[in-house]
Amino acid sequence: MKFGVVIFPGSNCDHDMIHVLRNIMHQEVVELWHKDTDLQGCDMIILPGGFSYGDYLRSGAIARFSPIMEHVIRFSEKGGYVFGVCNGFQILCEAGMLPGALLHNDHHKFNCKNVFIKAENNTTLITSGVDTSKALKIPVAHGEGRYFADAEVLAQMNANGQILFRYCNENGAVDAASNPNGALENIAGVCNAGKNVFGMMPHPERAADAVLGNEDGRLLFESILAMVKA
């Protein structure tokens, strides 16, 4: 599979994502500069984490105007796969490619730690190989990760199977104590109605290298590869 990782000024999880895709999953990866206009025939475009444009106005608010985004949007409209992690998720919401928004954490602090999430279903590209009864340990690191959408949108998303992940405890119970940021309905990740654009706050690329003692995030990359190859 050929992945394109978009580098915005201020992206800082770009190298981590490239490392996992290239050296651990052994896939072809091209680095796409935010001013590029050619997606180089990639099968999936990834918007990595970080602080694009310093997140100075609002997370992801400026990056959505980068020249490459117009092409990423067009790519997704034709059914192309797009995956945003953390700041990448924020950019996808700002660009209107995913429903909802990511607000300041309810405790108003940046928060970096391992959390547990549970896949809502295994019918999407990203969750296809994941056991939905099992909690995955995947770290978060963000100040603005509180997922919000209005009630109508949320109901639609639930009905449509657009919720990818919810925060849970280590046994898989979705409860308030396991919610690291006050996200509505413990939502940690979502996809669009077309199920080809995905976003999540936790960092699967930080839980994919055996050297770091946690490979739960690798399941997501394996899911993608299994589905696209098949």
Partner: protein, 742 residues
């Protein structure tokens, strides 16, 4: 361009106003052969400030062990120490203080401290891969402390998180001596291929001199001079001396800097920190034995009508000075254009060895570069010192003065929730500790942070340590303990201690008692660094950490240590692995509670000697642990430090919710056994399969090794008496800081 001096000549009153001594003013007149003008006087005042010149410390710093077989750059050679870590790679690492700015503007003060230390690393061509910090505040109960802690932690977090380098370790300590003057020390470590580093040097007549990065503003003017005086009630008026940080620009500057180095066009480079343009131009020129003509009107500024001296001294952040090989300007400019950063030629290299600063055609300053810098013309002083009375008085403390308590369990709970001993989770969860995907300690805790070196089998171990209470009690022993503890943390994590960077936080050097602490700290550091073969590669000195009303802070020589794991699979963790494992204490149990948190906070005895310490024993214990880890005989290793044995065991029990059942030593008071902080002790756990081999090696080692108990499923027992469960302690331990700070 004319060569007439334009601005008015200065007077001895001006000199005094700028913090120069009368004899320093005379010396400047001699060096120049005339009276300096105001701009020149300003230049000398910042370059000869304590912060830039090390004038009151350098003669002692030179006595520290500075040589080692794998050092690629010795102390003072480059912006940071450089150590060969094998596989053709080197680690650049350094620690620095940002105490004074953090005292009056905690958020920006701490943020710019992080920015500054990282620039020191990437200006050498190394990509930062890990950061640490060492923080000290007044009592946590005070509203002012809470404001400082929240600001400092947010400042470090917001800057470091956006910059995108993980914070992998650190320390936080509270004591009333830091009430007015908190300490904020930041450390960074980066990796570079051997032979691909860039020096802070300027050569090649006619080569263009570039300023790149942020525009220059009025922030931080005279910051170096501000850092070189006591904090007073008027310090808030020094607010413009505090710089403002922009981590986004720093991130772009990092990427652009590394790209520009790869073009091969760079002759030399230095970041702009203290004393801004004047410091980088003079240090690069002095090192290259060349001069520069600098045209200040060409410097991109943030605001209109900045005075020449303001441009010269501004400490605006996220800037670099680069000397480029003539003819390769386009290569350099293309990189900075890609990253949308300023990149302006502001001058050229000359053969004069003098720095000439012009503004709109007028020569404003003409000074010999060498006369300004450390190792050149900057003054060097020997200060008087004398032993303070408290030192002799501390020796009068005897353990018998404290009645042996019977409420040991209550004390154990008290200590597990004491801010100095409890989990620092409230702090470190605000830092991104995982970006970069190199932090091997996230899911496997160890005494030092283990950082993976991708594409090799190697890892490095990093730690910052200093129990300043011990240093206050006995500067020489206390500092030797700080070095030993750093080495112990690295050893217990499976690493080989390699080199040291230090951040020497002291009071006013003109106070003979403070200087006595400084001199003895240096002696203790020398002794221990020689023993562990960990040369000092640099760091910084921060004097004047005292206020007019509180007096000096505890002498706090923070030790940042780098360790190497040639094979990362040799790493060792601190957490108990399973119930039933035997718990062994390596090293002597001593009837000693001196300078322990228990004695100081629970019994409120503030003056006692440093805890028991013997450097030879320390070394032997560490060598033994190294051998055990190498032979894969132990399941965990964790050093006994602040809080004593009980806190040590608790820290090992908590990660997997296990407990422990131990027996005390009938020859030792129970409070000393559980809470004493005698040094050179390490706890290891061993499973049944390895017990025999362990005991054989223990016998051969001739060390004091005792089996003190067993890992349990979660209950805690001391001499068979129930002491609570790990779950109870865990909650107290985890929530203590948040209870004060949320």
């Amino acid at each position: 361009m004319t060569k007439t001096m334009y601005n008015p000549i200065s007077t001895s009153d001006d000199a005094k106003e700028l913090g120069l001594l009368p004899e320093e003013f005379e010396h400047i007149k001699q060096l120049l052969g005339r009276v300096p003008n105001f701009t020149e006087l300003s230049i000398y005042s910042v370059m000869w400030s304590e912060h830039c010149s090390y004038k009151n410390s350098i003669s002692w710093l030179k006595t520290l062990p500075r040589k080692g077989p794998h050092l690629l750059a010795e102390a003072g050679d480059e912006n940071a120490g450089l150590v060969d870590i094998g596989d053709g790679l080197a680690c650049a690492f350094k620690i620095e203080s940002h105490n004074h700015p953090s005292a009056i503007e905690p958020y920006q003060g701490a943020a710019t401290g992080v920015g500054g230390i990282n620039r020191d690393i990437f200006t050498m061509g190394a990509r930062p891969i890990a950061q640490l910090n060492s923080l000290r505040f007044g009592p946590i109960e005070s509203e002012k402390t809470k404001w400082l802690v929240r600001g400092v932690v947010k400042g470090i977090g917001n800057y470091g998180n956006a910059f995108g380098i993980p914070t992998v370790g650190g320390e936080v300590f509270f004591d009333e001596c830091y009430n007015t003057n908190p300490l904020v020390n930041a450390m960074s470590a980066g990796i570079v291929e051997v032979g691909k580093t860039v020096s802070a040097i300027s050569t090649g007549v006619g080569n263009p001199v570039y300023i790149v990065g942020s525009a220059t503003g009025k922030d931080g003017i005279h910051g170096a001079a501000f850092a070189s005086k006591d904090i007073s009630a008027n310090s808030a008026e020094d607010l413009p001396s505090v710089q403002v940080g922009d981590p986004f620009t720093e991130k772009l500057l990092l990427e652009a800097t590394l790209e520009v180095i790869a073009t091969g066009a760079v002759v030399g480079m230095q970041d702009m920190g203290a004393a801004g343009i004047i410091c980088s131009t003079s240090e690069m020129s002095a090192k290259g034995e060349h001069g520069m003509n600098i045209f200040l009107e060409k410097v991109p500024t943030r605001q209109a009508n900045m005075q020449a001296w303001e441009i010269l001294l501004s400490e605006s952040q996220e800037r670099m000075l680069i000397v480029v090989e003539k003819g390769k300007e386009k290569l350099v400019e293309a990189v900075f254009e890609k990253w949308d950063l300023n990149c302006a030629i502001i001058g050229e290299v000359t053969d004069s060895k003098r720095l000439n600063f012009f503004m709109n055609g007028e020569l404003l300053a003409d000074v010999p570069a060498e006369s300004l810098v450390l190792g050149g013309g900057a003054p060097v002083y020997q200060r008087e010192y004398s032993e303070p009375a408290y030192f002799a008085a501390s020796k009068n403390f005897k353990i018998e003065q404290i009645e042996e308590p019977t409420n040991l369990q209550e004390i154990a709970h008290y200590l597990s929730g004491h801010p100095n001993l409890a989990s620092k989770r409230w702090v470190y969860e605000q830092y991104d500790s995982m970006v970069g995907t190199v932090n091997m300690s996230t899911n496997a805790p160890s005494d030092a942070a283990i950082v993976n070196i991708k594409n090799t089998n190697r890892a490095i171990a990093l730690t910052v340590d200093c129990n300043a209470r011990y240093v206050q009690a006995d500067p020489e022993q206390g500092t030797a303990i700080a070095v030993s503890e750093a080495a112990r943390n690295i050893t217990c994590s499976g690493g080989e201690p390699s080199a040291v960077t230090n951040c020497l936080n002291f009071g006013n050097p003109y106070n003979p008692h403070v200087y006595w602490q400084f001199v003895h700290a240096i002696k203790g550091m020398s002794k221990a660094c020689e023993k562990f073969k960990t040369p000092v590669t640099g760091g910084n000195v921060s004097f004047y950490n005292q206020s007019s009303y509180d007096g000096p802070v505890f002498p706090t020589p923070t030790i940042g240590m780098l360790g190497i794991l040639p094979d990362r699979n040799n790493r060792m963790t601190l957490d108990f692995k399973k119930a039933g494992d035997m718990i062994f204490l390596l090293g002597e149990s001593v009837n000693d509670i001196s300078s322990s948190e228990y004695l100081y906070s629970y019994h409120k005895v503030k003056n006692s000697p440093a805890p028991y310490f013997d450097l030879q024993e320390e070394y032997a214990v560490q060598e033994f642990v190294k051998a055990l880890i190498k032979r894969k005989i132990v399941n965990s290793a964790h050093d006994v430090s602040d809080g004593g044995l009980f806190i040590n065991l608790l820290e090992s029990a908590i990660p997997r919710n296990l407990g422990f059942s131990i027996g005390t030593d009938f020859e030792i008071r129970k409070d000393a056994f559980l809470f004493g902080e005698a040094q050179s002790r390490i706890v290891v756990t061993v499973d049944e399969a390895h017990e025999e081999m362990f005991l054989e090696l223990a016998l051969d080692s001739e060390l004091a090794v005792s089996c003190i108990g067993q890992v349990t499923e979660g209950e805690i027992l001391v001499d068979d008496a129930p002491f609570g469960t790990v779950a109870e302690y865990k909650q107290t331990y985890n929530d203590a800081l948040g209870a004060h700070l949320n």
